[in-house]
Assembly symmetry: D2
Homo-oligomer: 345 residues x 4
Amino acid sequence: MIRFNNDYNQGAHPAILSALQQTNQTSYAGYGEDEWCEAARKEIRKYLGETDNEIYFMIGGTQVNYTVITAALRPYQSVISADCGHINNHEAGSIEHTGHKVLIVPAENGKLTAKSIADEAAKYYEHGEAEYLTQPKMVFLSSPSEFGTTYKKEELMEIRKVCDKYGMYMYVDGARMGYWLTSDECDVTLADLADLADLFYIGGTKCGALLGEALVIINPKLRDHFKTYMKQSGGVLAKGWLLGLQFYELFKDGLYFEITKKANKFAMMMKAAFEKAGMSFYIESGTNQQFVILTKAQVEKLAEKFVFEFSHDVDENHVCVRFCTSWSTTEEDINILVDELNTMI
Amino acid sequence: MIRFNNDYNQGAHPAILSALQQTNQTSYAGYGEDEWCEAARKEIRKYLGETDNEIYFMIGGTQVNYTVITAALRPYQSVISADCGHINNHEAGSIEHTGHKVLIVPAENGKLTAKSIADEAAKYYEHGEAEYLTQPKMVFLSSPSEFGTTYKKEELMEIRKVCDKYGMYMYVDGARMGYWLTSDECDVTLADLADLADLFYIGGTKCGALLGEALVIINPKLRDHFKTYMKQSGGVLAKGWLLGLQFYELFKDGLYFEITKKANKFAMMMKAAFEKAGMSFYIESGTNQQFVILTKAQVEKLAEKFVFEFSHDVDENHVCVRFCTSWSTTEEDINILVDELNTMI
Amino acid sequence: MIRFNNDYNQGAHPAILSALQQTNQTSYAGYGEDEWCEAARKEIRKYLGETDNEIYFMIGGTQVNYTVITAALRPYQSVISADCGHINNHEAGSIEHTGHKVLIVPAENGKLTAKSIADEAAKYYEHGEAEYLTQPKMVFLSSPSEFGTTYKKEELMEIRKVCDKYGMYMYVDGARMGYWLTSDECDVTLADLADLADLFYIGGTKCGALLGEALVIINPKLRDHFKTYMKQSGGVLAKGWLLGLQFYELFKDGLYFEITKKANKFAMMMKAAFEKAGMSFYIESGTNQQFVILTKAQVEKLAEKFVFEFSHDVDENHVCVRFCTSWSTTEEDINILVDELNTMI
Amino acid sequence: MIRFNNDYNQGAHPAILSALQQTNQTSYAGYGEDEWCEAARKEIRKYLGETDNEIYFMIGGTQVNYTVITAALRPYQSVISADCGHINNHEAGSIEHTGHKVLIVPAENGKLTAKSIADEAAKYYEHGEAEYLTQPKMVFLSSPSEFGTTYKKEELMEIRKVCDKYGMYMYVDGARMGYWLTSDECDVTLADLADLADLFYIGGTKCGALLGEALVIINPKLRDHFKTYMKQSGGVLAKGWLLGLQFYELFKDGLYFEITKKANKFAMMMKAAFEKAGMSFYIESGTNQQFVILTKAQVEKLAEKFVFEFSHDVDENHVCVRFCTSWSTTEEDINILVDELNTMI
């Protein structure tokens, strides 16, 4: 069985394992106060333009999301998210668990729009800061979104304007950042993000690392005692250098971009093959996640050789499923899938 | 510089790295639903006697502690801890952050006693379940304690009786479990713990793993939706097999016990050398952490070659410092320290 | 200016003030452990049929709502509410502040339906108790709703079935309970509610008391340490007899029903006059709140003599406003309004 | 039976009931946006000197305490309290329920001292803002304390210095403020408090009102969105004018001070009689609460005619009990007690 179900089904890029091996018998300071974290920060900062920033290495995306939100918001403040946002559907209520309301806005193409954000914010801000509503103070974006779609620079700039108008923070969940930045449709760089967002994270877990996410905080207000928030939220790894080392490997020679770009290429091959086989897509995605609409017979056939993920029912005879390439997908894997799809034309 | 400052300053036992290497290109199901987690559970269960149990692999100790406490307690319930307990001093208020009071009891020898627990519990239970106090519902024990001391089986049995009397859960934080179970003074086994405690965790991070803790839940009441609590608390690793695989390696042939036993042996060599050099101890410890009282001159001298940790001031001229061996300490390291101490006699 | 803006703009029914006066120099036990609370419980129970129950007197509705939800739900559980529900819009995020997600369902006629509840619950329960979603465990109903509409017995029975199917609690916010039970359209009694709901509250603040709500808990599971939850949530009044005394006065001879029935009668007179003047309603309400659609000119004219509440914009030229009668509305007040409306025909 | 068990066992001063009666049929704006609240603020401000401030009327002390602490602290911050502090013992863990640790310091004479506060704060601030401890950010004082003792101006000034040194807020719980300010030993005024504290509350419930506390916020940083915090915490009374009206009555002609002064006088008469009867005190109190040490026989005898409160066991034969006068204690009541005590000489 070949796994196309997600982008975190194999260990790590060999360069990372090799680095772990080489450093395994060296002693380091704990809790991220080591030289690898510092080296990784330097490599990442090469991509961040002129902005002043702080970079923290954390363990997983859910944890980054609720820690960031806890640290940024006061108890009367809330966060705006698309209805399909990860914090709304896949994190077991962890944002509310820390005391904050998630204001849910219907997604368009898996994404928020400047207009939908402005409309939601206006309910509060354009009614005299309505005393008994929560104050929307952060906008939560994912790019790629849960459906593989991405934001254009223009869209982010429009959203930034709305955030500025109402004093809201703009936060980008980049669990799949690499697949965004290397997709053909992308006109955004990390330096742009550093310019536009208050904070964002660069995903490691889904982009070649064993585990780990690099959180970049631009807005100085959001840095206050952040390490303590991390500790309180279970996000400080005792052997913190393990995270720094991985990001160092991923960023020092652009490996992060190389391996995600390849995954995107394979995704496009897969996409073309689905299309050729007459299958349609639930949503048009230019990144490593493809949401295909299949008949139940097609699902059954493909499930003989491949693992993929059920997304949702479309109608009585059709379902939407996710096929996902990753940094670990091989050309061989993708060829087998394409061949199989060719038999289904 | 040789690090004796803690037991988490090197990567992992080579067997673990080797296992990661061998499985690196195999695809696995995510979130701990994989065969390595299952295999690790089987190996660990060999030590757990007849008790029915569930085992969860989590990322770090702080996270295990607050997730367990959140899942076990209702909002009006609290947890009894020694004043030197990890949850009281080293977790940035994470227990209170989840809404629960920590009832603090002065430690004796770094530990709680059945009597001190009973006295604290009585304030509530012997006054008609005093309506405006929180209800003590869990007892938090660490063994080894923050000062390296450990509980005897007899002590645990007495504590169990108090817990039974008042319907309180007994929870053992075993971040350094291996150093306890293999110390000369230990008369407790994992099977005993499974008999006595409601839940406990077996530390990986400080006992040879890159990261990871194995939580064993005995009391069925405490298992309800535990995976969801883990997710909500940021404790589910996407590549969960990485944790299972490490515990499998540590437990399949007793490696866990072998490497911690060796660290204890080195600690006893270190202890003897301190004593020979006329230095005294803040507390008598039979495990890998030794708390020595040094003059400032002695500190300065030792700091030239070794990294160790400041614990607290003793008087104007003396401080208490921690020297810690670990699974990664080498015979060479310990000999250099012993030699150095011998020059200070 | 005559106030029709809400149903809590005057002190209390004279019988209540008189009772306060008569008992003012008597000493009572504190925190609700007094004879008036007990007497009030007895009077209320005469309406509750055969069900076993506990009754608690609390201070205000927001407080009742979040205390009930905190006490009933575990951290991974959530509550289903209509989008226009009080807990979603008017309580400043107090439910999320206690750690729980509010699952929002579009209202029909200001209300939830059995079908909309079932659909929302199915997302979790019909997908293998989806591990990373919160578990919907309570249904929050308001009757009268925020728009004055009420549930029929048949509707409540259907909702009860859905709750039973999934093991969810049914909770009815009865801030305006009196206006419901005495409306012409009502086919529900307090005894029916005691049969159908797990818990509900009988509003005092908006129905003739200075302050206070009577919470009736039917489901024994939800009573555990409830008084401690109340204390923790700031809901125990030191001079608790003040609440008991008021409910005693309201219930001993049916005063509660008499005064709310009169308010409904006045509301129907008002409604008829609006209709006669050619004005239409945003929603059809049979209770004391009427949501009328007015032109801006009409608003201006009515605002010269009456205080009423803006609800929302309808279109460029029309707004929806709330006119509200209450236990304290006089026949004279209503006649002045009717006369004014008659001039606008 | 005559109640000396607490100072909240009777309704309200007659002037308050009379004011309620007179305004009962007037309509008011809700939620504290009415003229009585504003009038009460004016009266209170006459005592507050030149300081700029905001005044909020809330329902009860527990609620004020947790709302203030929630609003003032960030998730990583904690509050220092005496071990006998109300927030530590009598509020069912409500502070921790909002996510904050209470740092407990042993009381001296029921009070904190500048030194004990400084020592506790130093654990954090003098160790490089220890990353994994919570940051002490507020000092919680009660005056009168739980044992009736009070702070001298000099003591408050010393505490203020410590607060300034570490940037901590000074908060005074004045549930029994009147009994403090009118005691013979008091050298503090409300204007002094306004100078020294960041915020404090003036208790109504225990000083002549039916219910209600007046929170005075001096520090502008602590006012941000405070009304929303109040709503979220269940602390906004719908008929807010009821609170304003009561404080207006209490403050307009100094009634607040007159009635509490009389209670103190009675307490001193009671105290003298206990002393004359050879009974000793657990603690020396100059306010309305007296903690007497009695033999069990004495308890039994006094309990025939009087209600008083058990405080704690002293030894096998003695207990400490609280006798409490209040604004509602009559000369007749106190004479009966004194006569009874005279028979016990």
